[in-house]
Symmetry: C2
Subunit: 380 residues, 2 copies
């Protein structure tokens, strides 16, 4: 084990009807609320009404910024921060999935500063405070509701960096599985891929921790058992709650206890596919992970063997990789670039973007040749 610190201050409210406690929680932070959300779907599924109702009960005034994209962009963050600054908001309520919550985290840092959001993302300035952030989750996937990470892309520079600060843990997050009922099958599947990929990034990180690895395989098992059932019954509370809870656990810190960090090389590859071709985040990972595993198979043989025994009843690394591929296919997620109409004609563009963005793993290093080989495994 590596030395480590556990310090997760987010208060997570999980279960049916938990949104009814939002007004009480809001009361702790002030009377001026910046409400951030994505497309207008929350207006059709009653979530918006419930949020506004809670804000009214709290006797607070609300300023809105909507339209955050599913691969969120930095220009929205700057525009939302301006709304927050102009209206001197006390607290931010982010309603959505990881895109909205990640954006809101950077907004929370940008509101009290004069710098652009991109200056923050690029670590040109070091924020010293943030506006308190409350998250209301509507998509089970990224774990953003209980972690200090954010990923936002820059369409001009074609970059999609990650950002970390203890200042951006949500103060409170509200997770009602009913709020995810309207997520369609494809995005539900991508969320399941994303949570499995997060667990794997922890698993392949630096440092051996047997108990953490057992937690990780528990999370993946849960996703493999209930993910396919959920896709058959999108409105079943039990399956929505299991996937929602598993997604939180996959990136709330517990998959890296006793590790130096996760690997995150596959996420880097996925981000390039998203920033170049607007590939949904989860879909980029179901393509990149099997290829990455195949390429590093010899180095990760023992670890694959552990997962194989836990998940697929086999110690064989190759069969284990096939198991993951089959699982992603079973969810209806793409496992090859060709599934998205991409192929070798995009190789140069993709490799260039990976190199420009310095994509690498923290544990398994990748140079240009490695990335090219992984590309070939993604293509075919």
């Amino acid at each position: 084990m590596e030395n480590f610190i556990i310090n997760n201050p987010t208060c997570l409210h999980f279960g049916r009807g938990v949104i009814d406690d939002l007004s009480k929680v809001l009361g702790k932070y002030g009377k001026r609320v910046l409400l951030v959300y994505g497309k207008n779907s929350i207006k059709t599924n009653d979530i918006y009404r419930q949020i506004i109702n809670q804000i009214n009960i709290a006797n607070a005034s609300v300023y809105e910024y909507s339209g955050i994209k599913s691969n969120p962009v930095i220009s929205d963050v700057d525009a939302a921060a301006a709304v927050g600054r102009d209206n001197q908001v006390d607290v931010i309520v982010a309603v959505g999935g990881g895109s909205v919550i990640d954006s809101a985290k950077i907004i929370a840092l940008a509101v009290p500063m004069q710098n652009t959001a991109w200056d923050i993302m690029e670590n040109k300035v070091k924020p010293v405070r943030s506006i308190p952030l409350i998250a209301v989750l509507t998509l089970a996937a990224t774990g953003s509701e209980m972690n200090p990470f954010a990923v936002v892309q820059n369409d001009l520079t074609k970059q999609k960096p990650g950002y970390f600060s203890p200042l951006i843990f949500p103060k409170h997050s509200f997770l009602d599985p009913v709020f995810t009922y309207s997520v369609p099958a494809d995005y539900t599947a991508y969320g399941i891929v994303d949570l499995v990929a997060h667990a794997l990034e922890g698993f392949f990180g630096k440092g051996e921790t047997s108990l953490t690895d057992r937690f990780i395989s528990s999370i993946i098992k849960e996703a493999m058992e209930y993910g396919p059932l959920l896709l058959k019954h999108l409105n079943k509370y039990e399956y929505r709650e299991k996937i929602m809870f598993a997604a939180t656990c996959a990136l709330n810190g517990m998959t890296s206890y006793g590790k130096k960090n996760g690997d995150w090389g596959v996420h880097g590859i996925g981000h390039s596919l998203s920033v170049l071709y607007d590939v949904p985040h989860g879909a980029s990972l179901s393509i990149a992970y099997p290829a990455w595993m195949k390429y590093f198979k010899n180095q990760i043989g023992e670890k694959l063997s552990f997962l194989g025994k836990e998940l697929f009843n086999t110690p064989d690394p190759t069969v284990t990789i096939q198991g993951f591929e089959m699982f992603f296919k079973q969810l209806g997620a793409p496992t090859k670039l060709s599934d998205l109409g991409l192929g070798s004609r995009h190789k140069i563009e993709i490799i260039n973007n990976l190199i420009t963005n310095k994509v690498n793993g923290d544990n398994f290093l990748m140079d240009k040749v490695d990335l090219e080989n992984i590309f070939d495994l993604m293509a075919n």
Copy 2:
């Protein structure tokens, strides 16, 4: 799943040498430190020197209370609180196992009040604030380092109640596995029993949560794999760290995510054995748990079957119970009252104490007849 809240504010520092960060952390809370510990063993194993060194680096003054017993008593809590009050301490540093940390939690509440500690334990008064508490763990067992619970006994009334308050989470806890090297084999074993029992109390609690149950079986597996190895190599860092981390996870909240609460009936029985005959806490649990499982076997058959498959490669509830019994024996822990020289001549006294203390499970209810039957299973 039941609705639930995750909210654990303790900052946990885990690993070799983490105590070197104590001075920095102390600086956040003030200059007057109440140092609480047990017997003088920390003076022989260099821990005391390291703590005092850190307090000196922080330029703080220290007031000491030592002599906390391994089944801690309320009179020590009152006496220590008086020392804290008289010296207007800003922060408490508790160095020890669960007994010391549990005592320190009640001390932290009692210092700013005029009431006795027993008034607090009995909920006659409701504390509104506490002195910040920093824990330095020297025994892997109770999980007190990362939870809001405390158990202290009253020798006069022969009661050993549990207490809960969000005010008593340690602000920081320092866990260096090296600090547990000097724990002898028997108490090391009792600590392992205790952590397994905590995981089981969560497992048998109200509410089904498949992922939490997977986490629980992960923790028990870890204890079963590395507990016996540790007992053979008491000074091996790797085994000390694995058991120390497993013990924290067994009672830091994650074993009751999505459950109404744990059961805790077995702990109630164990506390009566401790308060009557000074039985070490873990030793009381290795006797009580197998008996409790045998008595409730029909009601918990399916749950035992799940554990059996995960831990003992069998779906058979009876074989699973035998597996736990064998494991406790392998650790050298008692599994029958007769192992401690207790027997049927103590039945009336034990049953009376159980009844007086209203011992019961939160999920599996026990009346007098149930308790008598469980006693018989503990005896023989």
